[in-house]
């Protein structure tokens, strides 16, 4: 059996305050809570008052290429761009990429921080975000930590060998030394 964790989003209840973004970035800062920066948040509110669209999207898988899909969906007379629902960290937008390194960000349900529920859900007292856990058939899903998400994207981009070699050189202190010497 595996435990499936879901953040449920109720788009009608969102008041667009972005408390979820603020606290998410704080939880994932290092040390924890040492900084806030919605640009680093793993949840973002798609915000379009002119069309009454307030939708929280939390970061999913990294994808190295843009997709071809450019559909729009009409739900309750509101037009949503396909990208509005998409959780991918994708080259077509700067959502879910670390603004400093450009590396992808992915929601880990606050597991690394060992919180009882994702922090965004806790601060969303209007219940636009709710948290659900349920049991399902299958292998338990692996926790994808910060570093693994980042390395995975680098492997996709540069290939395993190049990443391995670089890590080896880093481990031997070679690159670090060069950097220090330059400074």
């Amino acid at each position: 059996m595996k435990k499936v964790k879901v953040i449920k989003v109720d788009v009608d209840k969102c008041n667009g305050c972005r408390a979820c973004e603020a606290i998410c970035s704080a939880v994932h800062s290092s040390p924890m809570y040492s900084s806030t920066n919605p640009g680093k948040s793993r949840i973002r509110v798609i915000f379009d008052p002119a069309n009454n669209i307030y939708m929280a999207v939390f970061a999913g898988e990294y994808t190295p290429a843009e997709c071809a899909g450019r559909y729009t969906y009409t739900i309750k007379e509101k037009k949503y761009d396909e990208c509005a629902f998409c959780r991918a960290s994708c080259p077509s937008r700067d959502l879910f990429r670390d603004p400093d390194s450009g590396l992808p960000l992915k929601c880990d349900m606050c597991e690394e921080a060992e919180l009882s529920e994702p922090a965004c859900v806790t601060v969303c007292i209007n219940d636009a975000l709710t948290y659900e856990e349920r049991e399902e058939e299958g292998e338990p899903a692996e926790i994808w930590g910060e570093l693994k998400v980042a390395l995975d994207s680098l492997i996709i981009k540069y290939g395993v060998t190049a990443v391995e070699e670089t890590i080896d050189r880093l481990a031997s202190g070679q690159l670090v030394k060069t950097k220090i010497a330059k400074n």
Binding site: N15, S34, T36, P49
Partner: protein, 687 residues
């Protein structure tokens, strides 16, 4: 490393097109925190009293609060400071929304604008990249229209923009600065922005705001969150609906408007309609609100829902803040349907939702009294609602009589003459006040209306109920967990709630003057602290039993910034900031004679007693009988440099200010400014 703040201001000279990123002095954070406090310090240092509001030497400062951008709930206020064209004093106009946190994430605590651009421009702050960009294509555009166009132009949905509409471009004295559903409305900051030919400031930031002691700060924020949740579930019994909870009055959520519509005055702050709120009216207002409101909306990192997303047939979708729900409706003796129709246009033009309806109601009164005629108002409609639309258009374009009205009631009355001055009955320091006229003098409100540097009662009051509780049970229930009271005052303030309303303990001679001073001090000081931290007053200084108070604010500030602040020190900072703002105004000629509520604000007035209360309050504050901070007070607050300046300018020696001369100089200057602005008008009205 700097914590909570970025440690940098952006200095922009629009005359020369120069942009600089300037490191700030951390010592000033210790003395003034940030926001309004450090805004005032810049204005004191760099804008001498000879400078006129519409001068290139006047500064327009967009400040952020010290805690803005941290994860403290409700810390999001933008504090706009400059000289007001209307009051000729320092104005500080504030708004919520998302702009200030975004500026912090871009790496700046303030944007300081000086000079005047030759052409209409907008500023684009994209982290370290800052550009002054041409805005000629935005000339004459509505405030929100311009925001949408800029977003499209920058191809960035996440950019936060503040902007002015036609009113600001034409330097209407009550022009606002608009941003989403928020606006910096009071004091004509939009006019100063228009005078500088600055249409908008767009910001996008992707940097960190750091916290000095993360775990401790988080724990304190959690306590605030917990209290918010509890407080939202426990309205205060014995209070009217809009005062029982926290936040700005939840106008977009509540249906019951009996209190506002029957207690506040309609028209030009003129007529109370005690019988207005009938069942039929209540039903209609409820339907109108429910049909129009699509969603309740918030500011950055705040769970309260003080704003509304409105969809109105024939108009479309727009966002609305609490008070515009009522001010236009009541100004025009109309209803909610009218409010929903005129508010979006007024917001696109960018005018203050408190002042604009009163100016228009004032013009209607003058017309009915024969002071303004068909010559002044050609083709003036019969219907009051249409008259408001007509006047609004004339005012923002400064067309015909609209040119005089665009300066607000005080200046317009004097320009129109023919007895129009008598209809200017609701201004303090030349600024329109909320339309309320009451019976018995309230000595606490007397002090706050008279002396408040904000010249705006809604952001001076708070903490204590506006009327005594009716029963002993309600009193005891209220005071039993009243943890917000400052240290040392607990028993005294609780006792006040117990005694107030009992026997002879009624206005005007209750509470005793020393207690009046202490209660007023508490209300005012909490606001000055908020205005420096950037925490919304709706979570702090304004409501009863707020989540932020004098006991948790010092550790919150300390753990966020790493600067040690305790209750006494925080109180002192509040006083210091207030005295500095007052000093700027004193230097610009403010004296005791200016510190008075409108004559008809209360029916029952007690001139001798009022003078005594004011005397005692000045003494309590450490000001002399003219309301000027004394040398001792300034020295104690570390503001000796203010005292030196006062001595040099002979401020203390001017026992009697030459009233007539000063007034005339000001109107002459206003004339010049107006002639100037007519040129500006011609440019824009062609649009």
């Amino acid at each position: 490393m700097r914590y909570a703040e970025t440690g940098y201001n952006l200095e922009v000279d629009l005359s020369r097109g120069n942009i600089q990123r300037v490191e700030t002095d951390p010592k000033l954070t210790e003395l003034h925190l940030g926001g309004l406090g450090t805004n005032a310090k810049i204005l004191w240092d760099r804008v001498p009293p000879e400078v006129e509001p519409f001068s290139p030497d006047n500064l327009l400062i967009f400040g952020t609060g010290l805690l803005d951008g941290t994860f403290a709930p409700g810390a999001n206020r933008t504090i706009v400071s400059s000289l007001s064209p209307q009051t000729q004093l320092m104005a500080f106009s504030m708004m919520g929304g998302f702009w200030a946190p975004e500026l912090k994430f871009a790496g700046y605590d303030k944007v300081v604008i000086r000079g005047k651009s030759p052409n209409l421009v907008y500023l684009w702050i994209n982290d370290d990249k800052v550009e002054i960009r041409d805005a000629s294509h935005l000339q004459g555009k509505g405030a929100f229209e311009a925001q949408e166009l800029i977003k499209r132009e920058l191809m960035d949905e996440k950019v936060q923009i503040l902007s002015i509409g036609l009113a600001g471009e034409n330097r209407v004295y009550f022009a606002s600065i608009e941003h989403g559903r928020s606006s910096a409305s009071r004091g004509g900051m939009g006019a100063v922005m228009g005078d500088k030919r600055l249409k908008a400031v767009a910001v996008r930031g992707r940097k960190d705001i750091n916290i000095a002691q993360p775990d401790e700060f988080k724990k304190l924020c959690d306590e605030v969150w917990d209290y918010i949740k509890v407080r939202l579930q426990t309205p205060i019994r014995g209070q009217i609906p809009i005062l029982e909870s926290i936040g700005a009055p939840q106008e977009m959520a509540i249906h019951d408007e009996r209190w506002h519509t029957t207690n506040f005055s309609w028209g030009n702050a003129r007529q109370r309609r005690k019988d207005y709120w009938t069942e039929e009216v209540a039903e209609k207002w409820k339907n109108d609100l429910d049909n129009a409101r699509e969603r309740l909306i918030s500011c950055y990192n705040c769970p309260l829902q003080c704003g509304g997303l409105i969809y109105y047939p024939g108009i479309g979708r727009y966002t609305m803040k609490c008070y515009t729900k009522l001010t236009y409706a009541m100004g025009a003796f109309s209803d909610l349907d009218f409010a929903f129709r005129i508010a979006p246009r007024a917001q696109e033009y960018g005018v203050d939702g408190y002042t604009a309806p009163q100016v228009m109601a004032f013009a209607v009164e003058l017309y009915e009294a024969g002071i303004l005629t068909d010559k002044d108002l050609p083709e003036f409609p019969e219907n009051n609602e249409e008259r408001f639309f007509y006047l609004l258009d004339k005012i923002v374009r400064r067309e015909g009589i609209g040119d005089a009205l665009a300066d607000g009631v005080y200046w317009a009355a004097r320009e129109i003459g023919k007895g129009a001055e008598a209809y200017d009955h609701n201004t303090i320091k030349k600024h329109e006040q909320i339309p309320i006229k009451l019976g018995m003098l309230n000595p606490m409100y007397y002090i706050m209306w008279s002396t408040g540097e904000k010249v705006n009662i809604t952001q001076m009051e708070g903490q204590i109920p506006q009327a005594p509780f009716f029963t002993e049970e309600l009193k005891e229930e209220f005071i039993k967990d009243w943890v917000q009271i400052p240290t040392g005052k607990e028993e005294r303030f609780r006792q006040f709630i117990r005694e107030w309303g009992e026997g002879d303990n009624v206005f005007p001679y209750y509470p005793p003057i020393d207690l009046i001073c202490e209660l007023v001090d508490w209300q005012e000081t909490m606001h000055y602290i908020d205005d420096a931290t950037g925490i919304c007053a709706g979570f702090s200084a304004f409501p009863l039993k707020p989540p932020y108070h004098i006991h948790n604010l010092p550790p919150l500030i300390s753990t966020a910034t790493g600067i040690n602040v305790d209750e006494d020190k925080l109180w002192e900072i509040g006083w210091r900031n207030r005295n500095l703002i007052r000093a700027i105004n004193i230097r610009r000629g403010l004296r005791r004679k200016d510190e008075r509520p409108p004559e008809d604000h209360w029916k029952k007035r007690f001139p001798e007693y009022e003078a005594k209360v004011l005397d005692e309050y000045y003494k309590y504050r450490g000001w002399n009988s003219e309301g000027i901070p004394t040398k001792e007070t300034l020295d104690e607050l570390g503001l000796s440099y203010v005292n030196e300046d006062f001595e040099q300018r002979g401020v203390y020696k001017q026992k009697k200010i030459k009233v007539t001369k000063q007034e005339s100089t000001k109107s002459e200057k206003a004339e010049v400014a107006k002639k100037d602005s007519k040129k500006g008008k011609n440019q824009t009205s062609k649009q």
